[in-house]
Symmetry: C2
Subunit: 363 residues, 2 copies
């Protein structure tokens, strides 16, 4: 498989976004978020999303020329309209605004409506950390995938929750999770390898667990009923908790900001209308609660203790959220970002259609 240096992946994304008419600064922010996502190993949310963005743009659902607009502004809160542009520039703008407010008011909450897919939520949580504050992020999502506990139809997206907190000696704690048990993409990988999926990931329209990966793909992408279980799986193992967390993310991201609840078929909605995805960004300055440095010292002590927990398998040490992504980032900075042949072909095609210069494949 081709491995492409991060810098070249960034240039490739920039070329396409520029060809699509996105402003230079917003394109730079978007390319940065997408490359960081690929570097952290979250392949489903980086470069490979360009195909989806191209199709949204083709449908007229995406306005790459819009700039985030502050609609309501107060010392500790703000509402931003994303103008139906990609989520990345909206999220970057909103997270930085929340951080700015937190550094003055101790806390800042910024909601975004009328946005789109923003890549990996953890990327924006890391922006908060880099400024020395705690970050908390939720988002609604476009594709209905999560089947509520006891239900038969998917009514919520994977609605991610991210949370990050800075340390001093250690890497920051960065949690970035879907509120479903797994993302659709994981099922795809099992299907491609012809492997059955573990029980508890996907249920059919009768609420029965599906373990055949080909059938699971059908349930997710073709059949109206069935979908992904909420985190926790079945009700007996706490699936109602994951369902509740998914609704919490929906409320903060979309109900609070006035964005869409995808499961309601709005009769006023026309083909080509934007998806109206919502995001929520919270930043908290530890210095509003403790003298400078105390928080970070205690973070380090906690992270050290968690890392030192005796593991059940000595080959698999206990991790802290953010470890796998940070380690993958170091590897990929060294070795490049893997680009499968099919993705490379898609990118070549996008370049052909948009007139962007192709450069993944090298000099």
């Amino acid at each position: 498989m081709m491995r492409v240096p991060a810098e070249r992946v960034r240039r490739q994304i920039l070329n396409v976004l520029h060809a699509w008419g996105m402003d230079g600064d917003l394109a730079a922010t978007t390319a940065e978020a997408m490359v960081e996502t690929d570097l952290m190993g979250i392949d489903s949310h980086g470069l490979s999303m360009l195909m989806m963005y191209e199709s949204l743009r083709g449908n007229g659902q995406l306005d790459l020329t819009a700039r985030p607009r502050v609609m309501l502004d107060a010392p500790a809160t703000a509402l931003v309209d994303g103008g139906a542009n990609l989520g990345h520039p909206n999220a970057d703008f909103a997270m930085r605004l929340a951080v700015e407010k937190a550094l003055k008011a101790g806390i800042g909450a910024v909601g975004v409506r009328n946005s789109h897919h923003f890549g990996a939520a953890g990327h924006y949580a890391r922006i908060a950390c880099a400024a020395g504050v705690v970050g908390f992020i939720t988002s609604s999502a476009r594709t209905l995938l999560l089947v509520p506990t006891r239900g038969t139809l998917p009514l919520l997206g994977t609605n991610p929750i991210a949370f990050a907190a800075p340390a001093l000696r250690n890497r920051p704690f960065v949690l970035d999770i879907a509120t479903t048990t797994v993302a659709a993409n994981k099922v795809k990988v099992y299907d491609l390898n012809g492997k059955p999926i573990p029980e508890g990931w996907i249920v059919d329209e009768a609420g029965r667990p599906v373990t055949d990966s080909a059938e699971a793909m059908e349930v997710i992408f073709k059949r109206p009923g069935g979908g992904a279980t909420p985190l926790g799986g079945a009700e007996i193992t706490g699936g109602h908790k994951g369902y509740g967390l998914g609704v919490m993310a929906q409320i903060l991201s979309a109900t609070l900001t006035g964005a869409a609840f995808g499961a309601i078929r709005n009769p006023q909605r026309r083909p080509g209308d934007p998806d109206d995805i919502g995001h929520f960004f919270l930043a908290i300055d530890p210095r509003a609660f403790r003298p400078e440095g105390g928080f970070e010292d205690d973070m380090d002590a906690m992270i050290d203790t968690l890392h030192a927990t005796p593991p059940s398998d000595p080959a698999k040490p206990v991790l802290v959220a953010g470890d796998p992504e940070a380690e993958e980032r170091e590897r990929r900075l060294q070795d490049g970002i893997p680009v499968p042949p099919a993705l490379d072909r898609h990118i070549r095609d996008i370049c052909g259609r948009s007139g962007a210069r192709y450069e993944l494949g090298g000099d």
Copy 2:
């Protein structure tokens, strides 16, 4: 089993708290929180906690005469020292302070350190809802129960997360979850009934699932290793997500407020020192983001849609977080709060030792 009217349970709790020297207003707040918890069917966190509080008080770990003190105060944030009193009066005070700030600044975050068990987190989230704002709560916990993914020792408590949002036509959405798959109390119920527990609740010191309920009780209460799985269970079904949510609750409740991380054996700690539990309370006024009423209308539309999801079993309709507790509350307001004979005996004994008037058993 004896069923006692809520009003009489409240008087019983008040009698004991007064006999223990708690101030009238703080005792009233505590009794209210405990009775509400029992009314909502969360038996493990209400009246039955008096035995634990008596033992903490006996050890000198609990100071029932302390009043919550605001240590740091800003328009949108505050830090409260709980003075080693029970969590209930501290949590009630902090949640109301957060709501007050949210009504002025759009958002309010109040941390509490040096506190104790506060009952059910959802009770305080409902206080936010009753004032028309969104509430979000986390807490650290005393007993180490959660075994980190890949680990063999419990390092975190059940660290609850609660979230509530008001509607108009519908009951509010009220999520109140432990970040473990189940609470220790659920295992106790299976053990009392001689039933095996479902795989995925408890793991032993080698990380193997335990299904024998008697062995599970031993793992939880007697053996140093093993404990409860995080929400999601095994790593393959997303247990690392629940582990991350547990750490998130720990960071917000304890690291941010300067409260204890129980897993670190502090050499300065002496027997009788308070547990130093931390809580975090966030309130958000929807009117900082949307015109009055828009949030509640969209909450109603979402809740209606969730309730209308076709269920896989027609006898078990799709629920929204808070439904089971609200329904149980109506039943118990009617029929009284069930008090098992063993609990009644404990309460009689506490009355005997404290000099409080016993009145559960009637006139």
